[in-house]
């Protein structure tokens, strides 16, 4: 594994990861409360893409109107969150950084809940109010958390960041409880949103997620070399000529934008951004030019599998997807924390 000739993610690696993602996607849409044969699935999706007439039966309805948009959304959310996690872990040189451990996801949720409770909308763009509020709150949370962390401990050590993240999450959830208490007739829609998960996502949601991933994710991917420098050390990044302030701000905005969109559509799904980059790092190494693209695919696959478990484990009952990722993530957290302490 030490012998790595290329710093970049090579073509065949893209193909391999993409193939794995497509296979997982097909598996995810086949399996469910109603099993659909693999061949039918492929036919229906193929015909759906080209707008051809569908074979008779319920299969096409289940696949195209319910399962496919959901699985696509799950994949995109997984990819986005793990890209964000990978970027934060590099930027802060901290293997435990992630939207959920830093409290950014809670901040975004608070923003979304406030938007629903106070009926903040943007004219002609329903849902955009929730999304924009989630993004703004995600960014503000990041600023508060990092500002506090810098103030208390300039080196931004793992322990300080995680502690502040936990405290901030608790703070955000208590504010959220207060808002919910006074929300009156909006209570139902808020509860529906917090339970949210990705059940019943539409193709429109998928498009929004895709656009956010292309835009914000693109910004993050373009900063892979800067993230390498930050992962070696912020001081070192400055010494080799990285515009530390500008890059940091850009990445933080991109990360909060992406997390905000994901949270506003899928609710908080913890630990995806923590676990995936870590697993991917074991496979392709810490260089962000390889780590970030691999995290994209890895995150999509990881979340689709978690979603599959959530849907099928207690069939016909469905677990929230966040429960599955949190159980896996909590175990992984302990493991990563242990090994990161040993590494010192």
């Amino acid at each position: 594994m030490n012998e790595r000739n290329s710093e970049r993610f090579r073509g065949w690696e893209y193909l391999l990861f993409a193939a794995a993602a497509v296979l997982t996607l097909l598996l995810s849409v086949c399996v469910g409360s109603v099993g659909i044969p693999f061949k039918t699935t492929v036919t229906v999706i193929w015909r759906g893409i080209w707008g051809l007439e569908q074979p008779a039966g319920t299969a096409s309805a289940i696949l195209l109107t319910s399962r496919l948009p959901r699985v696509l959304a799950v994949m995109l959310v997984g990819a986005s969150l793990s890209l964000c996690g990978g970027a934060m872990q590099g930027l802060l040189k901290n293997p435990l950084a992630d939207g959920s451990t830093l409290g950014v996801s809670s901040g975004a949720s608070l923003g979304a809940v406030i938007a629903i409770a106070f009926g903040i909308t943007i004219p002609s763009l329903p849902f955009a109010g929730t999304m924009v509020m989630a993004m703004v709150f995600a960014f503000c949370s990041l600023l508060i958390i990092l500002g506090l962390a810098y103030k208390l401990d300039f080196s931004l050590s793992t322990n300080t960041i995680i502690l502040i993240g936990v405290i901030f999450s608790m703070f955000a959830s208590s504010i959220m409880s207060i808002v919910i208490t006074f929300s009156g007739e909006k209570l139902r829609s808020i509860t529906f949103w917090t339970m949210g998960s990705l059940q019943g996502t539409s193709y429109r949601n998928v498009l929004v997620l895709l656009a956010a991933l292309l835009f914000f994710g693109g910004v993050i991917l373009l900063h892979a070399r800067e993230l390498n420098a930050f992962a070696v050390g912020e001081e070192n990044a400055r010494h080799v000529g990285v515009n530390v302030r500008r890059v940091k701000l850009t990445i933080l905005i991109a990360v909060s934008g992406l997390i905000g969109v994901c949270v506003s559509i899928g609710g908080t799904i913890g630990f995806v951004g923590l676990v995936t980059p870590h697993m991917v790092r074991l496979l392709v190494g810490p260089n962000h030019r390889r780590l970030l693209p691999a995290s994209l695919f890895g995150g999509g696959i990881f979340l689709m599998l978690s979603d599959l478990i959530a849907r099928t484990l207690l069939n016909p009952k469905e677990l929230p997807i966040g429960v599955v990722t949190s159980i896996i993530g909590a175990v992984a957290f302990v493991y990563i924390y242990g090994s990161s302490r040993k590494g010192r």
Partner: protein
């Protein structure tokens, strides 16, 4: 090539640097010496803009404060005293970061990256270790990795903050000899913070003595290292101490 004017750094009421000024010409190796807390490392940081400072710094006639980060990095390389790399980057990946300043956006291309990386690895004797993870290196190898990164950056001025602080004698000698060789090239200069006065004396061409953030002496080695100046700043007979230390080696 470097002109520092009236540089001051303060944290609240605490003044760390107080109106430090000096000029540096190509070919010089300026040793910044002084007791603990004199402001030596802060001076290095203030020159590169790592801490907020009053006063001005001109590099080759241009204001270093307003220069773009990557342009400044092409001229000034910095070697810090400690490195804690969090992830298992390979030696080559860390060294390669030194070329960032020459292609600061993903769209810019520059030729000669491979040669520069290879030359820096060979110069520091790390070519065989290039694929090894930096987490597995010894302190000396890690310091050489970052020295290679700085060489790869191809600056004209090298700033070193106690480059051999945690290194044993073998590595101290290695690192200082590498830097001395590097300095022999045309148009280059070195500023280093050094605790060890013997090392400073052996390699420096000039010294700047700091105490409590002020310049106590600046000039050729012999002048700054005179008994009168050193004894006043360190509050002890420095020469007598050094000679007594060395005498033990003679007897054996």
């Amino acid at each position: 090539m470097l002109k520092v004017e009236n540089l001051s750094v303060a944290y609240g009421d605490l003044t760390i640097l107080n109106g430090v000024s000096f000029d540096l010409a190509p070919g010089e190796w300026l040793m910044i010496v002084g007791p603990n807390g004199a402001g030596k490392s802060t001076l290095i940081n203030a020159i590169t803009g790592g801490v907020p400072a009053k006063g001005s710094v001109f590099f080759e006639g241009r204001n270093a404060r307003t220069m773009k980060a990557h342009k400044l990095a092409r001229g000034i390389g910095v070697l810090a005293q400690n490195h804690f790399v969090g992830y298992a980057f390979s030696v080559e990946e860390v060294v390669r970061l030194g070329r960032y300043a020459y292609a600061p956006t993903i769209f810019s291309r520059h030729s000669g990256e491979e040669q520069a990386v290879r030359a820096a690895l060979e110069q520091t004797g790390l070519y065989e270790l290039r694929h090894q993870s930096v987490l597995t290196l010894s302190g000396g190898e890690l310091q050489r990795t970052f020295l290679a990164q700085t060489f790869c950056q191809d600056p004209r001025l090298l700033l070193l903050d106690e480059p051999t602080n945690h290194l044993d004698l073998v590595y101290q000698k290695q690192v200082f000899e590498l830097i001395q060789k590097w300095l022999k090239q045309e148009g280059r200069a070195v500023i280093s913070v050094v605790h060890d006065l013997s090392l400073a004396r052996a390699y420096g061409t000039r010294a700047l003595l700091l105490d409590h953030g002020r310049v106590m002496a600046d000039g050729p080695m012999e002048k700054v290292f005179s008994d009168e100046v050193l004894n006043r700043v360190y509050g002890m007979d420095v020469r007598d101490w050094m000679i007594r230390m060395l005498a033990q080696w003679k007897e054996a």
